[in-house]
Amino acid sequence: MYDFEYQRATSVDDATTKYGGAEDARFLAGGMTLIPVLKQRLDQPSDVVDLGDLDDMRGISEEGGAIVVKAMTTHHDVNTSDLVNSKIPALAALAGTIGDQMVRNRGTIGGSLANNDPAASYPCAVLALNATIKTDKRDIAADDFFTGMFDTALDEGELILAVSFPIPEEAGYKHFPNPASRFPIVGSFVAKGADGVRVAITGAGPCAFRQTEFEAAFAGGLNPDAIKDIKVSDDGLNTDIHASAEYRAHLINVMTRRAIGG
């Protein structure tokens, strides 16, 4: 790892000020991606601004029909939250599939979303649940947030503070794990809420995306048979040593049906 200036933020304002005052800074949340990336010398920031002391960036609450998860909340805390388990059990279950025990104890929802790994689990939940990402500057709708591989709508130095998930009537998540890393090769999150049915896929493309042809097919209800004859196009999907685009296209249909008990 190249050396850098380590700075510890004392507040959100202090974090963004320190970030802005540095030549090329990175925010450090749980570090479950950033530290391995730095160790591999894939990145060389001048400064790392540690958010670890910002206790007011942790916690889960219910506000006006939504579950609000603050950005520094760990996957373990989402997975074991009574509130999330009672209101959006599919989201709690999803958090329990990320990484392993030690990763879930450190990794955060804000870090995962800001990083936007193509195979990250949270983005498909954020999209399907039509969540809002709250930053230090503005609110960003899920549909506008994920802009490409490792790319988001966040401006330089913009910090995610919380994610607000509207409570759905029904939701389900299923992923096909890579046998070695357990990252989703394809994951599907299905939610039925005030805006109708939304289906979002992770692992298959450059970043999470909505599967709108499934959403239309589910207009009459979340019946797995409603999509079983829809052949998903493999256009633009990822191919790697683990799965071809064609196989991922197939898994999109299978995982979506399994997400709703099919």
Binding site: Y6, M32, I35, G99, V103, R106
Partner: protein, 155 residues
Amino acid sequence: MPSIKMTVNGKEVAGEVEGRTLLVQFIRDHLGLTGTHVGCDTSQCGACTVHMNGRAVKSCSILAAHADGAEVATIEGLADGDTLHPMQEAFRQHHALQCGFCTPGMVMSAIGIVNDNPDPSEKEIREALEGNICRCTGYHNIVEAIGAAAKEMKA
């Protein structure tokens, strides 16, 4: 260079580190506690598992400076004099090791698993060991040891 202080196995320790110094480097190279191993160094194998503020974490993926002020527990802090921790004793009784390299991380992880789930099934133990790799592939006895230790720790 950041000056850091933390509690390791109940003792106050302090040191000067670089920003990039990892917690595992601080534990091994600064404190001389070499029971915590570096296996893959890419956050996959879990050999470096310690507890930070009561939770199992991979010390190869945490900056030492980040752990400033934390309570850290390593494998060296588990036994009470000559009396092994029930998890260590169960690993001994069930021969839950072959070469032993992964063992400190396995034991620290296993205690984390049982703290979260005091009565785990065999399936739950196998799933919860996701983050610990034993390249001797000696998982079977490890799983048995954790199940036995869970009963002992509950008693």
